[in-house]
């Protein structure tokens, strides 16, 4: 089974995982189940770089060989552009593996948590990158504290 033919949907229970809660201020949890993460693999057919939420459509081939269209919802262009995204960041025809929260009611719809491209490079939400930077500062501060040195200023 090739990557393209495989629709690998892996549901993992995660508690309070925040991976790019697209539209967290738009009642995210009323639409997406933020306690589950799924991964879907397919080929991008469209990427709409718009506000309030960017939208990607992708063709995913399920186990029976049937091609199903999935919709992936991102934060809006206002937010993505702050992380350097453009309308060409994701191109039709690209093969991608997308992880995110599944929609509570709509089949074949999910939020964007992470995208892994065919060449292994990754795209993550802008908020996740900011959180990663804060965590790096915290680790450095903890390391300095454990060594008994005067740490850097806390990440405030």
């Amino acid at each position: 089974m090739t990557a393209l033919q495989r629709a690998s949907i892996l549901a993992v229970l995660l508690v309070a995982l925040t991976i790019g809660r697209a539209g967290a201020h738009h009642a995210f949890s009323a639409v997406y189940d933020d306690k589950q993460t799924i991964t879907v693999e397919g080929v991008v057919t469209q990427f709409k770089f718009v506000n309030p939420h960017a939208i990607m459509s992708m063709d995913v081939t399920d186990k029976s060989g049937k091609v199903v269209t999935w919709t992936v919802e991102f934060a809006g262009r206002l937010n993505l552009a702050e992380g350097g995204w453009t309308a060409d960041t994701i191109k039709p025809g690209e093969r991608v593996k997308v992880s995110g929260n599944p929609a509570r009611q709509n089949d074949h719809q999910m939020s964007f948590g992470r995208i892994v491209r065919a060449d292994g490079t990754e795209l993550v939400p802008v908020g996740k990158k900011r959180e990663d930077a804060i965590e790096a500062e915290r680790r450095e501060r903890a390391r300095q504290r454990s060594q008994g040195t005067q740490g850097t200023q806390p990440p405030k």
Binding site: A16, T18, H25, H26, A27, S29, A30, V31, D33, K48, V50, N51, P52, H53, G76, R77, L78, N79, A81, E82, A103, R104, Q105, N106, Q109, G127, R130, E131, A133, I134, E135, R138, A142, R145, P154, P155, K156
Partner: protein, 266 residues
């Protein structure tokens, strides 16, 4: 003769001073004008939408405690938020509001019907805030979220007395040193960012102050609303200087489908 001339001159100066218009109060410090956007620091992430002094103090205490080093930042942020909600916001709500607090976000008209926010939420909206003077008598606040605009009148005019309340209310402003102070009234009842509804008696005072580092803009907003609050609520928000940032059109709002009620945590 000389005494008469001096006295006459003094009288002329006094007369000129008393009849001239007051010194303009609309001179905006350039440092506040321009584009601001999300602050990527820990406190900035806490205040992505709104925050309080209580939440900021709680987050800083959690970050300072080595016992929390292994806990992920989102968990600490959520704890600080929860603490502020329980100890600061909830005790200030009227009994009537407490009965329906917190409202289910699945009922949010912004989500269900793409209805733009009222001023109580818009003033704290994430992403860009652009502050520009419009002539000598107005300041415009333009927000990335919803591409919303607010006009603030700086010429001392009074608000409309017979106009029906509107979503953005009526805003007048003035400068106190380098602080931009905006008072808003005539606001139609709508949702707050804290999941309760304010009444049309809401009045807000926003104070925009640039921090000493020059690249941080703080908003301290005081909400007074006999219809929903027992005492004033003071809310904060922070932006970073972002001259490269742009506000892009808000043109593709899709009504949410598949909304589930009762699943959001209080």
């Amino acid at each position: 003769m000389i005494q008469k001339c001096v006295s006459g001159l003094l009288l002329l100066v006094l007369a000129a001073c008393s009849s001239s218009p007051p010194a303009p109060k609309t001179t905006a410090p350039k440092q506040i004008e321009g584009m601001w956007s999300d602050d990527p620091t820990a406190v900035g992430m806490l205040c992505f939408f709104t925050c309080t002094e209580v939440a900021i103090a709680r987050l800083n205490a959690l970050l300072d405690d080595p016992a929390n080093d292994a806990r992920p930042f989102p968990q600490l942020r959520a704890e600080a938020d929860r603490f502020a909600r329980d100890t600061y916001i909830r005790p200030r709500l009227t009994d009537a509001r407490l009965k329906s607090y917190p409202l289910d976000p699945a009922d949010d008209p912004g989500l269900l019907r793409c209805e733009p926010w009222g001023v109580a939420r818009q003033m704290f909206s994430p992403h860009q805030l652009e502050i520009r003077r419009l002539g000598e008598d107005r300041v415009q606040l333009r927000y990335g979220e919803w591409d919303a605009r607010r006009t603030v009148y700086m010429d001392g005019r009074r608000g409309p007395e017979r106009e029906p309340p509107g979503a953005m209310g009526f805003s007048v402003g003035h400068w106190e040193g380098e602080t931009l102070v905006i008072e808003t009234s005539n606001i139609a009842a709508n949702l707050t960012p804290w999941r309760f509804e304010h009444s049309d008696q809401l009045r807000t005072e926003e104070r925009f102050t640039r921090a000493d580092d020059g690249t941080t803009l703080w908003l301290t907003a005081t909400f007074t609303d006999p219809g929903s609050l027992k005492e004033p609520l003071v809310i904060k928000k922070v932006w970073k200087w972002a001259p490269e940032s742009h506000i892009t059109p808000y043109e593709d709002c899709q009504r949410a489908s598949g909304v589930t009620k009762g699943v959001s945590q209080p």
